[in-house]
């Protein structure tokens, strides 16, 4: 090989390198699997309820759950029980026993100064005598109630005693209707009444009043005011006497205010403030039936009045969108549908209100049906009256300063339930079309561990501006946990589910704008009810088996 050929060979080698291949743009193409766990959600039932924005539930130490609603019922104004003691005036006269006839018998005319002890020997002067005369006045108060008593805190009883006797007269006033608070004895006073008379002012705040006083031969009554006036007349030698002398007693009861009045308030109506109660819990469920095994309504009433109050429950209604159900309560101790709230039996300004608790449950009411109606609202048109059990008479009182009436309606619905295709629905926006752009197919793997004795089926519906894209997926998300004889779950139940989204599904899902999720819950069909505990948990492990194409 000569030098020229060798040079040609070298030149060819130098220039033969063809790298035009790299003129083309390189594009990354790849398809492969991505099998990986995404993560887990660990929900207790309490968490689920909070997610559903249901907050009206409580949980005891053992995890037993119940929905609790409390509504207060207060008494209305009920002013009719506050009986006013109106002003009262009355008049009593005790005339001199020295009538004209006696003057005639004494052979003197009125006026006359007694100068002789005998009008004839051995015949005493009839003008000389001692005599005690009592007059009783029974005055009826015009009151709105039949009262038997009252305790004053203000007011006065002014008694004006006038006398035209020329001699001083001892007058005794006894008011059996007016009882001293300090000694619990009737008011009584004795006064020497001159011709100038005398005024007595009795502050009523020191007294109670006994409206039952009556004439001695009559039974006790109500609204009566009794006063006895006794004058002691003693005519002696030297006294000037007349035949028209008398003692006048005028009494004015004014400005009386009472701390308490006693009486029989019969079965007068008692008003309550009306309420309604919204039950958010049931708003979360769409379709299906739910039966509560042991719901309760407890009425805890605090009665600061001196009379029992009957609450008529017949106007408490469960209301849902389509129907209404009245509460029924069968109470052995009182009238049907009536809750008897005892009052304070003995008045004391510091007497505590009487607490009465009544529980309505499946044994004495229709509360199970009441709540199984899935009410969205409970209307509380509560009416009532005093003395629901009429004792004839009823020993009642009304204190002007009272603690009133308060009642709490505590609804306790334990989650001991039977679920039949109860649906929970939710919707979420979806704008992740780009994120699934590279997916060829996608298998969503759900491994759940469930200690809730409810099974759950999920239906996922993909929508484009409200139009179903026909790629809905329905699958068993979790099976119900087995339960023990007490209705509580015994252990976690495992479920494994794979949901496959084909390439065609994914193409449609890319157009989705929203996802509707419907969860259908069922308790085991063979069980009447199961107990749901707050600690019941649902562990959802989410993983994926995806094929990706880049």
């Amino acid at each position: 090989m000569n030098t020229k050929r060798l040079l040609l060979f070298c030149t060819i080698i130098f220039t033969c390198c063809n790298v035009s291949y790299f003129d083309n743009e390189i594009e990354m193409k790849w398809s492969g699997d991505l099998n990986m766990p995404i993560g887990q959600i660990n929900y207790t039932l309490s968490d689920v309820l909070q997610e559903l924005d249901i907050n009206d539930f409580s949980e005891d130490a053992e995890g037993n759950m119940s929905f609790n609603y409390i509504e207060s019922i207060s008494g209305g104004k009920n002013t009719s029980y506050d009986v006013a003691i109106e002003d009262l005036s009355f008049f009593i006269e005790i005339e001199s026993p020295l009538t004209p006839a006696i003057f005639n018998a004494a052979g003197v005319s009125s006026p006359h100064t007694i100068t002789a002890s005998e009008i004839a020997p051995g015949i005493p002067n009839p003008l000389i005598r001692s005599e005690k005369i009592t007059r009783q006045k029974i005055q009826k108060f015009e009151l709105t109630k039949n009262l038997t008593g009252a305790s004053f805190i203000d007011g006065q009883l002014i008694i004006d005693i006038a006398s035209n006797f020329t001699v001083d007269i001892n007058v005794t006033l006894e008011i059996p209707s007016l009882i001293t608070k300090s000694g619990n004895v009737p008011y009584q006073t004795s006064e020497k009444i001159t011709s100038f008379g005398k005024q007595l002012s009795i502050p009523l705040e020191n007294y109670t009043i006994d409206f039952t006083q009556n004439a001695d031969n009559l039974e006790s009554t109500t609204n009566n005011f009794v006063i006895n006036v006794t004058s002691e007349l003693d005519f002696n030698l030297g006294d000037t006497v007349k035949d028209d002398e008398k003692i006048s007693v005028k009494a004015n009861l004014t400005g009386a205010e009472t701390a308490v009045v006693y009486g029989d308030f019969k079965q007068e109506s008692f008003s309550f403030s009306s309420q309604s109660l919204n039950l958010d819990f049931f708003d979360s469920f769409d379709q299906g039936a739910i039966t509560f095994a042991n719901p309760k309504i407890k009425i805890k009433a605090s009665n600061g009045y001196g009379f029992p109050i009957g609450i008529d429950l017949s106007k408490i209604r469960a209301v849902n969108q389509t129907s209404t159900l009245n509460l029924k309560y069968d109470n052995d101790q009182g009238p049907v549908n009536m809750v008897v709230v005892n009052g304070i039996e003995t008045y004391s300004s510091e007497a505590p209100s009487v607490i009465t608790e009544v529980i309505m449950d499946k044994t004495n009411s229709n509360v199970s049906d009441f709540f199984s109606l899935r009410p969205t609202e409970i209307t509380l048109d509560v009416i009532g009256n005093a003395n629901p059990i009429n004792k004839l008479p009823n020993l009642n009182f009304f204190a002007s300063n009272n603690k009133g009436f308060e009642a709490e309606l505590e609804i306790e619905v334990p989650l001991e339930v039977k679920f039949e295709n109860i649906e929970l629905t939710g919707s979420m926006d979806f704008n992740n079309g780009e994120d699934i752009e590279d997916l060829v197919n996608f298998v969503l793997v759900l491994n759940t561990e469930n200690s809730i004795p409810l099974s759950g089926n999920l239906e996922v519906i993909f929508l484009n501006n409200g139009v179903d894209l026909n790629v809905s997926k329905s699958f068993v998300a979790f099976a119900a946990a087995d339960i023990q004889s007490n209705g509580k779950s015994s252990e976690y139940k495992k479920t494994s589910t794979e949901v496959t989204f084909s390439e065609n599904d994914l193409k449609k899902i890319k157009m989705a704008t929203a996802i509707d999720i419907k969860c259908t819950l069922n308790s085991p069909k063979e069980k009447n009810s199961v107990k749901l505990l707050g600690i019941n948990g649902l562990i959802v492990n989410v993983s994926t088996k995806a094929n990706i194409k880049l």
């Binding site: 090989m1 030098t3 060798l6 040079l7 060979f9 070298c10 030149t11 080698i13 130098f14 033969c16 390198c17 063809n18 790298v19 035009s20 291949y21 790299f22 083309n24 743009e25 390189i26 594009e27 990354m28 193409k29 790849w30 398809s31 492969g32 699997d33 991505l34 099998n35 990986m36 766990p37 995404i38 993560g39 887990q40 959600i41 660990n42 929900y43 793997v445 491994n447 494994s496 959802v540 492990n541 989410v542 993983s543 994926t544 088996k545 094929n547 990706i548």
Partner: protein, 423 residues
């Protein structure tokens, strides 16, 4: 002795079954005609008094696959599309990929009375990758169960500037060459020895059970920080060589190249996965206000206990050894039997070749057969160096056929070429 060229080719093809070839083997046979052969043999007894080397290039690529088996041209878009499936199809249980690029930036060689002195500057890239079919399976099929072992990576780019001396002894029968080199590391990436990473995916839950040992990647100079041409990664290296003229017809030669170390102290980052015999990743808490994607990334980092550390380290150069014997059939015809050895990932890669060169005063050319011990494919290479006045042109390849093929159609290729000024 006059040997017909075609006869020589026939002889070489006949002997190919027992011969193995290595890249740069053919270049090695240019010997004293080309000053740049000092890069493969330190002994240089120049034919010319003075050589000024202009920038030249030499590269060797040994891949288990052709480029167009991985980057497949789409006839519609004309784009080159990656195809890992094809890569997997063409993978063996254990695959090795090597690439060596030697850019000869400067060469100045003087002939001395008893040998030569040379000054040189090269930029080198040595890239050795060993990967298993499981590794490619992950790349091709995605995240499934895998157990990645025996995968290795060692890539080093560096500059070398040095001085070479060749001196003859024993009445010129013995020639010893020594090259001392200052090394300056540009970039490096290497996996720790015996690195392994395994993933076992639970069939039901898809939970990952991760096993890792020695999973650490040391890098230097790969960050985006601006670096100057020379770095603070300094090192020292040397090449040794010797030839001995046994008789008028026979000579033997031995060279050991690239003995040296680079200390990497600048722009270093080590990416580490903590050793674990089984760490479970079961996802993240989905009940989060943050981005689930971010949570997953954070959790996976935590599970893998991935850390980035900055630490200095030293690496040895990939040394190679050549041993050859030449038979001078005549003054113009020489046969060479060549044994080469290269240490890669602690294993010795041995190669054999038989070559023939025609020797002229101003030129040489020859043929060489070699076989790669891994794929056992026969390759025929050639070399030539010719002086035309003051210009010397040289070229060598270990695979003639591939030299004329398109770059995407070859998996193994070597080419060394350059131009010198010789006087």
């Amino acid at each position: 002795m006059k040997i017909n060229t075609f006869t020589l080719i026939a002889i070489l093809l006949f002997t190919i079954n027992s011969a193995k070839a290595q890249n740069t083997l053919s270049f090695y046979n240019l010997g004293d005609y080309v000053a740049q052969t000092q890069n493969v043999s330190a002994v240089y007894l120049p034919k010319n008094n003075f050589t000024l080397g202009l920038p030249g290039i030499g590269f060797n690529v040994n891949n288990p696959f052709k480029l167009n088996e991985f980057l497949i041209q789409n006839n519609t878009t004309n784009k080159l599309e990656t195809n890992f499936d094809n890569l997997l199809l063409n993978s063996k249980a254990l695959n090795q990929s090597t690439m060596q690029i030697n850019a000869s930036l400067f060469m100045l060689a003087f002939k001395t009375k008893k040998g030569s002195i040379s000054l040189f500057a090269n930029s080198k890239l040595v890239n050795n990758i060993q990967y298993t079919d499981q590794f490619i399976e992950v790349a091709a099929n995605g995240i499934n169960n895998f157990d990645l072992k025996n995968n290795q990576l060692n890539t080093t780019g560096y500059h070398e500037i040095g001085l070479g001396i060749t001196q003859q002894f024993l009445k010129n029968k013995l020639a010893i060459g020594l090259r001392l080199k200052y090394l300056n590391g540009v970039a490096h990436a290497s996996l720790k020895n015996n690195a392994s990473l395994g993933l076992d995916i639970d069939e039901t839950t898809q939970n990952w059970n991760i096993m890792a040992a020695n999973a650490s990647l040391r890098t230097s100079g790969l960050s985006n920080e601006d670096t100057s041409y020379f770095t603070g990664n300094n090192g020292f290296g040397m090449d040794l060589g010797a030839t001995y003229q046994v008789s008028e017809k026979w000579s033997i030669a031995l060279s050991v190249n690239d003995i040296g170390t680079i200390h990497w102290s600048e722009n270093n980052t080590s990416y580490n996965i903590k050793d674990t015999e089984g760490t479970v990743y079961n996802g993240v808490d989905l009940n989060t206000d943050g981005s689930i994607q971010n949570e997953i990334e954070r959790a996976i980092n935590t599970v893998f206990k991935a850390t980035e550390t900055v630490e200095n380290f030293s690496t040895k150069l990939t040394s190679n050894t050549y041993f050859s014997t030449k038979y001078y059939a005549s003054k113009k015809n020489v046969f060479t039997a060549l044994f080469a050895n290269r240490a890669v990932f602690g294993a010795s890669v041995t190669n054999y070749a038989l070559g023939y060169n025609r020797l002229h005063k101003k030129a040489t050319y020859g043929l060489l057969t070699s076989i790669n011990p891994q794929d056992k494919k026969v390759k025929i290479g050639g070399n030539a160096a010719v002086n035309l006045g003051a210009f010397q042109m040289y070229v060598a390849t270990d695979n003639f056929l591939n030299a004329f093929k398109k770059v995407e159609e070859v998996s193994q290729s070597s080419l060394s070429l350059g131009i010198n000024l010789t006087f």
